[in-house]
């Protein structure tokens, strides 16, 4: 199924365009022809069973996994899948250009343990983009303030809770001023009581018009913050549309089945966003 771009009026032009993505792990066919458009200021949430390929998809979008076939274009930079030439210098450079446009957040946060929170944030802006340290620091401080971690700027990651780590990782990714933020199950490794603080930050970003693609199991969050919800199963996009539609009145039987089973097993996941 081809996902037509959401037509909501507040969204801008198409900024992420994936075409014909196929991915094999050995003989295992994990992604089966994914087309995806994401528009500026759009928040896209990808849901689905584990093993449905949603994490692989998001990792293919910034080439942490090389797609077997297909192409990804982010903000005018297009890279075609070319698994035979993976690792050559020219290709690494192309992929790097994609990654400069797409920030990535991980389930395990992956803060650099040997650097303070602030150093985590300014490392790439200074070394990769060549921004003067003072300038990078002031941007980092602004973003740490935003995610509520300014008083932790000199702490090392080991001293932070999981929720704080993920918020610091969000600030770090935003310090590169990417065109789109991609989240791979950002709250799955968190203790339940820490999920809310991360989702709150993400919801705020979504409402401010940050373009984001989120792989998540937090249905309530998806309902609140998504412009578009995508349901994936067996490496394909089964259903896509506004949250009211996909989560409220899913058209496809598989989506209905998933939602029914999911909500039965994790009733608490519905209310993960705390009252503010």
């Amino acid at each position: 199924m081809t996902v037509t771009p959401s037509t909501a009026p507040h969204l801008g032009e198409v900024i992420v365009e994936a075409r014909g993505i196929e991915k094999y792990f050995g003989t295992n066919h994990v992604l089966r022809g994914i087309d995806l458009d994401v528009r500026r200021r759009e928040a896209v949430m990808i849901i689905g069973r584990s093993g449905s390929g949603k994490t692989t998809l998001i990792r293919c979008l910034n080439f942490l996994e090389e797609p077997t076939v297909g192409s990804v274009e982010i903000d005018g930079m297009r890279v075609d899948a070319d698994p035979l030439h993976a690792g050559t210098r020219e290709r690494e450079e192309l992929i790097r250009q994609i990654r400069l446009r797409a920030g990535m957040l991980f389930q395990e946060f992956n803060l650099f343990p040997h650097m303070s929170v602030l150093a985590n944030c300014i490392e790439a802006p200074v070394r990769v983009r060549g921004i003067p340290e003072a300038e990078a620091t002031s941007l980092a401080e602004k973003l740490l303030e935003k995610v509520g971690l300014i008083e932790k700027r000199d702490e090392f990651p080991a001293r932070l809770s999981g929720g704080q780590k993920q918020r610091a990782a969000i600030a770090r990714a935003m310090c590169m001023e990417p065109k789109v933020l991609m989240f791979d199950e950002p709250t799955s490794a968190l203790d339940p009581e820490l999920v809310g603080e991360v989702l709150t930050v993400m919801e705020e970003l979504a409402h401010e018009g940050t373009t984001m693609i989120v792989v998540t199991h937090e249905m309530h969050f998806a309902r609140e913050a998504a412009d578009t919800v995508i349901y994936m199963d067996e490496g394909q996009i089964i259903e896509a549309g506004p949250p009211e539609q996909v989560l409220g009145e899913p058209a496809d039987e598989r989506t209905q089945h998933f939602l029914r089973r999911f909500l039965n097993s994790f009733p608490d996941r519905q209310g993960a966003i705390p009252e503010r």
Binding site: R99, A102, M104, F106, M176
Partner: protein, 268 residues
């Protein structure tokens, strides 16, 4: 549901805790006492043979002990060079370039597949035949560096591979080049992982450095066996040398243990 409302025995928890501590302490005391007893017996036994020449020890002992300076010097310089070689070797072993990879794995295989003493002789005695003449101390240092560099290559490789994959992925996702990822993110973390192993190798190196005595480098063992043979007093001089090696390794082990404990406190 009532689980256990039965009256508890009157033994206070802190008494149990205290007796656990006492038991542990008394174990330590007895282990140390065993050391003292055995060493005492050994010394007394040697003394009882009446063959220990204290006057000789008084005259030559300090000179033999003085060789320890060169032992430590050779080991310390060699461990630095070995570390640099190992770093390059590990990068080679992990390289995707088949030629670089081949050079590195041949180095490791060749050096690990031949005895250290052969390598020492080779550098000192065989190389002059092709015009490369080295003094004894540099030859010894080169041999030790090459040898330990090969073993440590494998340690470094394992250390680099032990850095979680997510670290590399996060760095790459921030647009860092492969070089930057290695230098700024992976290596600093790998170093912390391998420091205990480097410490072990340094201690092993302290002892293996005795092999360069065959090049007449005047380190601890060379001095010990020189005066020992000349005076038929090898018992005394070798005992001195052995004791010094032992003390050196214990001192470095102590520092290594402290370093490890300090690092363990730091992260994660």
């Amino acid at each position: 549901m009532i689980i256990a409302d039965a009256p508890r025995p009157p033994v206070a928890l802190d008494q149990i805790a205290a007796s656990v501590v006492r038991a542990r302490r008394s174990f330590r005391t007895r282990a140390v006492a065993t050391w003292a007893l055995l060493i005492g017996l050994l010394v007394a036994g040697l003394w009882a043979t009446g063959n220990i020449d204290t006057e000789f020890i008084g005259v030559w002992g300090p000179w033999v002990v003085g060789g320890a300076g060169l032992t430590v010097f050779v080991s310390a310089v060699s461990i630095v060079f070995a570390t640099l070689l190992a770093l390059a070797g590990a990068m080679g072993r992990l390289s995707r370039n088949p030629y670089v990879n081949g050079v590195a794995s041949l180095y490791v295989s060749l050096v690990r597949g031949t005895p250290l003493i052969v390598q020492i002789y080779f550098i000192y005695l065989a190389l002059p035949q092709v015009g490369i003449v080295l003094a004894a101390i540099p030859a010894g240092i080169i041999a030790l560096s090459f040898n330990y560099g090969a073993y440590m290559t494998e340690i470094f490789r394992a250390g680099i591979q032990a850095v979680p994959r997510g670290q590399r992925e996060a760095a790459e996702s921030l647009g860092m080049t492969e070089r930057m990822v290695m230098r700024r993110i992976v290596l600093p973390q790998a170093f912390r992982i391998v420091i205990p192993a480097i410490g072990n190798d340094f201690i092993a190196m302290l002892k293996d450095s005795s092999l360069v005595s065959i090049l007449a480098v005047e380190e601890l063992l060379f001095r010990a066996q020189l005066v020992g043979r000349q005076n038929f007093r090898s018992l005394e001089t070798l005992l001195i040398a052995a004791a010094i090696y032992w003390v050196l390794t214990m001192v470095f082990s102590y520092f290594q243990e402290r370093l490890e404990r300090r690092m363990a406190r730091g992260d994660r």
